[in-house]
Each structure stands twice: as structure tokens, then as C-alpha cells.
Symmetry: C2
Subunit: 453 residues, 2 copies
Amino acid sequence: MKLRNLVGQRFKERPADCVIDSHALMIRGGYMKGVGSGIFSEYPILRRVTRKIENIIREEMERIGGQEVMFPVVMPAQLWKESGRFESVGKELVRFKDRSDTDLVLGMTHEEAAVQLVREYGRSYQQYPFMIYQFQRKFRDEARPRAGMIRVREFTMKDAYSFHTSRKDLEEYYAKCLEAYRRIFRRVGIPQVEVVASDSGMMGGNVSHEFMLLTDAGEDSVVVCGSCDYRANLEAVDEPAACGRSAGAALEGVCPCCGSRSLSIRRGIEVGNIFQLGTKYTESMNMRYINESGAAEYPVMGCYGIGIGRLAASVCEARHDNRGPVWPISIAPWEVHLCCLRPDDGETREISDTLYQKLQSEGIEVIYDDRNKIQAGEMFADADLIGAPVRVIVSPRNTKDGVVEIVARDSAHMDNQMRKKVPVGRAFSEVCDLRRKLWSDGEMYDEGQRKNF
Amino acid sequence: MKLRNLVGQRFKERPADCVIDSHALMIRGGYMKGVGSGIFSEYPILRRVTRKIENIIREEMERIGGQEVMFPVVMPAQLWKESGRFESVGKELVRFKDRSDTDLVLGMTHEEAAVQLVREYGRSYQQYPFMIYQFQRKFRDEARPRAGMIRVREFTMKDAYSFHTSRKDLEEYYAKCLEAYRRIFRRVGIPQVEVVASDSGMMGGNVSHEFMLLTDAGEDSVVVCGSCDYRANLEAVDEPAACGRSAGAALEGVCPCCGSRSLSIRRGIEVGNIFQLGTKYTESMNMRYINESGAAEYPVMGCYGIGIGRLAASVCEARHDNRGPVWPISIAPWEVHLCCLRPDDGETREISDTLYQKLQSEGIEVIYDDRNKIQAGEMFADADLIGAPVRVIVSPRNTKDGVVEIVARDSAHMDNQMRKKVPVGRAFSEVCDLRRKLWSDGEMYDEGQRKNF
């Protein structure tokens, strides 16, 4: 599409109220706009990013046998009374009454709704295991929303719920889901995400993990061992460690896994979490199945969450420079950003119009900046904020030399070959080559989702 | 996927509380489950249908230049106070307070949020026209939810908002949007939907249209002229008719357009609506742009809605028999339903397993029923409720004859050629042929979205 038509505005100044870079850059780039405390609207550029993230997650959920469903945002309080959480959860849970005085709540998570949906379906052991997931809005009345899309009150979440006839079966599926999460974080461009033992908090259950992007902008504290793989949320160091030993030692600076004293505390953003819930919800909500011997038992559950907006902001936090986000090609709003400097110059305009048409007709996502009377500096600043991985520059000077310029957005981190001038006639194939390289270098796709190059 | 793994159960009995067929069939087929009054969860089979509907709508919105955004479900009441609707709308609008005593509302429509998002972007006439749309959950505290997914309290809606610098420009865009809606209803399988003059109600503005599926199951009353094209919601017959004459005459049984006395009243389901809002929201919320002469003006708005779940239920209402929905191939949960009768018969199992693999590897959506010890009658009853347009039957008797059976789901309405036995070796290509025919007969796709056959 043409940049001149893109709804949303970009600007130079860092907003005063932004404490972390991703927040500042996403506001400056016209990604979202605050509507109220911890409540945002997404402009088209961010919606493109979040839709791509959703599609990657959907593919990975389907790959491990997940089936997409949809639960409501508004639920009868009765459902939350069954599980006991209507009383046990604090002010984060919004409670209100409808016109006939029935108590309702806003879904902040959907364990109750999941059990309600499959309570009858799951009556025989033969139906197990199964996993259902959704993408849905959640509202949590957080006391302190902060950091743009990182900690908000309303957000889109992928939440998944698995049901099993034994703890062993849950553990096996949990491991599969953990691998699916690793693939998701790799495919959205942050393979460095760490798996960390966590505290199960209000979810219940006793085994859970968080996926942490370690960054100074994070609000969680993570204990990291320099000698072994031990990682734990600081809130969870008094729980048993994965290695089986008592983890309390970590509080005294000793790694509970390898015994070394090389523990440090890092900041992190939680980009996903997985829980072995056990029978907390199936027992309280009386969901039972008949096992092979004809006896009634409670199914064992797991649940698995990823916040979509937070993940987008986290990728931006992990991949940006002072000019803007450096989106991976898998979730960039567009793959190619085509700048036509001086579109009033006939030949220059023709070269870039032709390239635009060609890229579009080949199914390559391109944003085309053909605005008149814009300084090159302003055009490039806008392109930096949009963060497409491939940039093509057509200008009168290049036209005179019979070339166009091709630049990789993350050239700052790579060698000079990422910026080159190529003859006009080779522009299209060179763009395709760079695009293909970016998809495969980052392992941005998997077997079965192979890009059509 | 295999039917044995599909989450959701099917059953024979018509539930007592279902007043219309689509509701009964969708409950019996495991499409959704009630969570509370007017609140449903979608099982995987319905989520497949609603996702396909969403994709068709998205394509048609993009085709007329729409840009996808996302507004929040929860909004500060302040925004609705600006427009005056916080006071003017009745109990349908849910109002509540957050932990810091701020008034919030649940979005039942998003005109206010749309104006808030683009108030700064739209400051210059050069940015116009533009259209933004979203898919988002809405909650309306309806007094009388009824008829399954037809009138609910919570639902997913595609809502679109266009902004213009003149009424004429709005009218031109409105006409384009009306055509996009016609394409949408054709592509989801109900081309018979009628465009009807309507009352603008709480939305404001003075020109609006509803898209009505005429059916006895509807809850709206539509005045239909037997002699000309005049159609109006009974609630709107005292408004000026499209033909320019006073419409009050309709109340006395005289068509306000052609003067004939051949008016009748039909029932209909409103499957979409479009409104010329004018400057109601831009004025009240003080959104202005600078025109070419440097003067400040209020933009003119249009808005355009379609409820996703209601549309799915309406297609079911329009296209079903007493055995189940007859989904068009464009939104059917699966294109092909493969029944293997007696999978314990080795050769029969091999033929159907091979066909299943082949269909899947060619990207054809297939649900495979290979359950053991299920009577043929039960298998077919389940297939009827799932409503895939192409059915393939592999059975020991067919195997002995070296054939498989191919049946079109809507054979009841077509000639006998829609049910035939074909040699095993030709099964795959015959399925492909029927599939192609169903896509093209129904004009289920458009140029640009050509299926890859």
C-alpha cells in the first residue's frame, strides 16, 4: 500500500511519559494510541504485526493438535463461584451486574470457561487427551499499568487448555507445548527467550514455567546461574527446583542446581507462561470422566498463555536501534519499504512505480512512499519507524546512474554488503534474494509452513 | 482432521428451548454452548466457520481500501460522555467502575473510539477519505436474547468507519460499501439478502440500510412491494423513501415508490447494516480538519457493521434441511467429509486412509470419520450435522465393487448426478472436480481471491 494512505501519524519527539524504548518508538511510529489507563487502540501498522504473530501462534498450536475455540469475554459470576475464584481473586477481576441484577465478570483468564465447554464432551477416557485454544480479549484491572503494551489492562491473549487422564500424560504434553513455545519465540524473532521456573500464583498447580526475555526494560526479576542452566523467577526461588533440590538456597546466593555461587539477578519481560494445573479446576467444577475400569476420575489440566500485544512490544524492545524497531521479516508490517525520492522526476517515478507493481503482483508485501515534497531525511526517518527489513531507494541521482539502492534495515548490525546499488534491471531479483535470505537466516518459518519464494 | 478427535458432541434430540431451526441444529451439531443468558462459547467446528466468514469480510474490506485496526472492548465513560451517548443510550450499555472509581463502559459499538483514534491523524483534508475497520467483541445487555446466535448479548462484530470531507464523497463510498456487502453475502452463500431502508436509531444520521435475510425465523418486519424494488424496515416506513417520496403511505398499504397496493410484510434477520452518520460524532467530539482554503470543518462519517456469529447462524437458517446445515463450500467447516464404514476391514481402511492422506497433502480440508463400531446411520447423521458439501463413503461393499461413493450434501435439492459411485482409482480426481464445481457454481470466490485448484 501507499504510505500516504496509511492511517496513523509518525513524529520525532520522544513522548515524555514513555519509560521504555519500545513504548516510545511504537507511539512515535503510529502503532497505537492510549484510550484510557492501560487501554490502547491499535493502528493498522500494529494490527498487521499482531495478526502475523497470531498466525504463527495458530500454526504452532494446530501443529501440537490444538483446536481453536472461542470463549466469551463476559461470563456469569456463577462460573467463577464454582471454581472459588470469584472470592479468591482480588480487584483485578472486574465484577458487575447486568440489567436483571445477575452478577457478571470480565474474563481475565478462561480456565472456568474451558471446563464449562468440555464438561460433557470429556465424559469418557476415550476422548482424551485434547487441547483447545482461543485468541480473545482479556481485561485485568491492574493497579499499575505501565510501559506501553507491556503491562496493560486490556489485551488479546492466546490461551490454551489441555485435558489429560494422567499426570504423566500432562507432563508429556506440557513438554510438547514448551517446544511449541520455543518455536513461536524463534519464529517471531526472539530465540534468546529463556525458560524460567515460576510461581503458579492465582492459577494453582505446582509446576509452571515462564518464558522470559531478559532485558533491562523488564519488570520481573530472574535469578540466572552463570555455571548451569538454572533460571527462576525471583518470586519462585523458594519452590523446588527442576533439578529436584530445594531451591531456597538461591536466596543465599547458592545455585540450587549446581551449587555454584555464580547467581545473578537479571530483569526480564514475561512473554509467555505454561502451567500444570492438575485437578484444581476439574475438581472444584466437578468435571469427571469414566476411566477404562468404569470408575469416575477428575481430568488433569494444563494451561498455556501468550499475550499478543506484549509479545509485539517485546520483540520491538529486543530488536530496535535509536531510529526505530528492527522487525524480523516474519512479523514486520511489510517486507519491503520502497522510497521514491522526488517522485516529481518522471523517470525516477516510472522506475519505482514499475517496481512497486512488480513486487505487489508477486505477492511481496510492500509499503510505497511516493509522497511529494518530502525531504529524504524525513522519508528515511519514517521508514526507520516502520521498520521493514528491506528498503529500496529510487532517486534521481540513482536513476542517472541506472541503479537503485537496496538496504537491509539492520545493516547497522551487519557488514556493508547489506547496502548496495544494483542496476535497475536487477532490482526486483535482488530484492527477492535479500528477502529469501532474511526468511531463512532467521529460521522464520518451519517445514510445513515453507514460504513460497 | 479425524472426527474422533473433534472437541464437541453431537446428538439426535431437538433441544426443547430452541425456537428456530438453526439454533437447534447448531446445538445438536456441537457448534456452540450457552454460557449464560445470550452468551455462548464456540466449539472448534463453529470457530472454523466464523474464521472463514471473517476472512471473506476482511478481503472485501481491504478491497475497498479499508485498513484493519483494533479498538478496546472496555472504554473510559468519558469518551461516551463526549458524544452524549453515555446519557442517551439505555441499559444496553454496560457501565461499571474500575478499582480507582473511574467510570468505564463495555463497547457495544465503536464510533467514539474511531473518532478518538483518528482525531489527530485526520487534521488535513489531504488525508481523506479513509476507512478503518476491526473485528472485535461487543457486549450489549439486550433485554431479550433469543434464537441462539441470532440475538445474543456478546458477539464478534466487524465494524467499519469511514471519514470524508463531503457528503457527496461519503455517498460514493457508501455505495461502494453496499456493493462490498452484496459480495460478502454472495460469497458466504446467501445472495438472496435484500437491501432495505432502515431507521437509524441510536446511531444517528439520516440515511441507513439494513441487509435482510427474509425468513420466517426473523425477528424484524420488512415491508416488501410486489410491484417494484421498495423494501423498508417496518420501523422506518415513516421516513423518506429512497425514491424521494414520503414513505408514510406505506402505513396505509400503499407503496411510497410505485403507488401500488401490493405491499406485504415479511419477517427478516438483519445480517448487516450501513449508516451515513454525517457529522454527529465529529461535531460532538470536536474532530476537525483544515480544508483546502484553510478553514476548519467537521469530517462526515459512515459506519458499516456485520455480526459474525449471527451471519453464520443466518446462513444455517437459510441453508438447512431437517438433517442439518447445508454449508456452502466457502464457509463449511471442512470441504470434504470422508466416511470409512467398518475401518476394521483391512482393504476398506487402506483405501480411505490413502484418500485421506492424498486429500490432505493437496491442501483440501477434510474431516475423516474412521471410528470403529459406529453404525452407518449414526455416521451419516453426524456428517449431516457437520454439513460438509462433499461426502465420500468408503465401505466393504463398495470396496468389493472397486468403487467409492461421492455425494453432494445438498443432493436433496439437486439431480441424481450428485450421488455417484466411481472407481477407487478415480476417487481423488472426482472429489476435486466436485469441489471445483461447488466453488464456481456458487461464485464463492472473486477475482484476486481465486482458489488454487
